[in-house]
């Protein structure tokens, strides 16, 4: 079921608008016009995941080499730094099988709806 969570302009740049939907805390992100909704609970230790940062990360590489990528696609937990793919909620690069819960988001007439 779709829930209207606010006007597009209410979502700060790169910081989550945190809303309660059916008593579930959900963070809605606007990253350069791409919208994401993520459950505000880290599957590791129940941290408020959506108060983390939207970043890129270091891609798997050879020893001694650094390659930065996935810019703006990674949600990094404010506690233990676990990194999740904003698109899928998966923990990046197989460090854990646990995943962040994500929800479909839709914008109609600048109103933001989350399917939850």
């Amino acid at each position: 079921m779709q829930h209207r969570v606010g006007h597009l302009s209410e979502i700060p740049d790169r910081e989550a608008l945190i809303v309660d939907v059916n008593r579930r805390s959900i963070g809605v992100f606007n990253v350069d016009g791409r919208l994401y909704a993520v459950r505000n609970v880290c599957p590791h230790k129940q941290a408020p995941l959506c108060r983390g940062t939207v970043e890129g990360t270091m891609l798997p590489s050879k020893p001694g080499e650094l390659e930065y990528g996935y810019e703006d696609r990674v949600l990094k937990c404010p506690w233990h730094g676990w990194e999740f793919d904003l698109e899928t909620g998966e923990c990046l690069f197989g460090v854990s099988g646990r995943r962040a819960k994500t929800y479909p988001v839709e914008v109609r007439d600048d109103q933001v709806y989350v399917e939850a």
Binding site: I18, V19, V41, K45, A47, P78
Partner: protein
């Protein structure tokens, strides 16, 4: 905006447990600049300019801002996470219904980097006055692990005698120098702590392996944060072993030690290896008249955070049994640091009796905070 932290685990919530949090870290904005009101004019002059900043280890956590402090703990009024005692009450103690929080300053831990003894003594005293004035007066749930500069153990003992009887002071934090804790260098500190019924507390200072005066890691210098964080336990392992065999607990039978944030899955190995070696080499340390492990169980306490994450959940319970957690473990969160354990998601499968011991009774006995509700 409201934040609702929910517990997703399917396990039924355990019955309500009272909580003492044995590892909470207050922060002073501006480092020594924030301590200026607690320093004499001469010492204020001494710490001018860039000398007012305590040094950081160059290997920083690969987290947002390369800081150990959780970004979600930033007080709304500004300043670093952990710097506002009122906000910490709301954000941590009230939220989790924590009865007491034992404060230790990791900024004070950086005293271990100072090559100058008088500077270290002076700052230790200023840190203590700051926390007594700015934190303990805010709420009686705050209790302080006062800090001492191990550079001069006689001055450290004097500092314990100055404030060790204050009601809010419950432990003595020793930022370790590169000398094992069994060394008699530390004995004046142990004597004073024992006299005042205060446990001594050790905690990674975050300076290990980064400064000549700080604790050196075994074998060499780690080159990444992930390495240095992984090997913190060796510091506690080496110092506890040293204390036992040097006979510290024979010399100071009332002394208690808190090993905060060093983990504990290594403890069974240490206990067994000590006992095994004692059966073989007792004559080298003839003052050790009973199994060395028994001194550890009687005198040393380990904090629960970071709760270890073994391959199988049942291993955790087995490890807790092996370390006699019903006697030796005290719950801690490490708020506001990145490797926080939440009271709501920690040790949920631990049997209730052991939970009570870990979350409250062991700490209440250790710090003399209250008569344990259930024994």
């Amino acid at each position: 905006m409201t934040i609702t932290v929910e517990v997703t685990s399917k396990v039924a919530a355990p019955s309500r447990t009272k909580i003492i949090d044995s590892d909470v870290h207050p922060w002073i904005n501006g480092d020594i600049k924030g301590l200026m009101p607690y320093l004499s004019t001469a010492w204020q002059r001494r710490f001018e300019g860039s000398k007012s900043t305590l040094p950081d280890h160059p290997l920083r956590p690969p987290l947002a801002g390369a800081t150990s402090i959780r970004r979600d703990t930033k007080p709304p009024g500004g300043g670093a996470g952990g710097s506002d005692p009122e906000f910490m009450l709301e954000d941590h103690l009230d939220r989790y219904d924590i009865e007491y929080a034992v404060l230790s300053s990791i900024q004070a831990g950086k005293l271990a980097t100072l090559p100058n003894t008088d500077e270290a003594i002076t700052l230790a005293r200023a840190f203590n006055d700051y926390f007594m004035n700015e934190w303990l007066t805010v709420d009686s749930r705050y209790r302080l692990a006062m800090c001492v500069a191990a550079h001069d153990p006689l001055a450290a003992a004097e500092e314990i005698r100055r404030i060790g009887n204050e009601e809010g002071v419950v432990a003595v934090f020793i930022p370790l120098l590169n000398t094992l804790m069994g060394n008699r260098h530390y004995y004046p500190i142990y004597r004073a702590a024992e006299e005042h019924g205060l446990p001594v507390l050790i905690h990674p200072t975050g300076t290990e392996g980064g400064f000549q005066t700080s604790v050196a890691f075994a074998g060499g210098i780690p080159s990444t944060y992930i390495e240095r964080h992984t090997v913190f336990p060796e510091i506690a392992m080496a110092s506890i072993t040293s204390m036992v065999f040097e006979g510290v607990f024979v010399r100071f039978p009332g002394l208690k030690v808190v090993a905060a944030e060093f983990g504990y899955s290594w403890v069974p190995h240490m206990l067994w290896r000590m006992d095994q070696n004692w059966r073989e080499f007792r004559r080298e340390v003839p003052w050790i008249e009973r199994e060395p492990s028994s001194y550890v169980l009687d005198h040393v306490r380990f904090t629960s955070q970071p709760a270890e994450e073994p391959e199988k959940d049942e291993y955790l319970l087995q490890i807790l049994e092996m370390v006699h957690a019903d006697r030796t473990m005290v719950f801690s969160t490490d708020y506001p640091h990145w490797d926080t354990d939440s009271p709501k998601s920690t040790f949920r499968r631990v049997p209730e009796q052991m939970r009570w011991r870990i979350f409250y009774d062991n700490a209440a006995e250790l710090y003399g905070l209250a008569t344990p509700a259930r024994v």
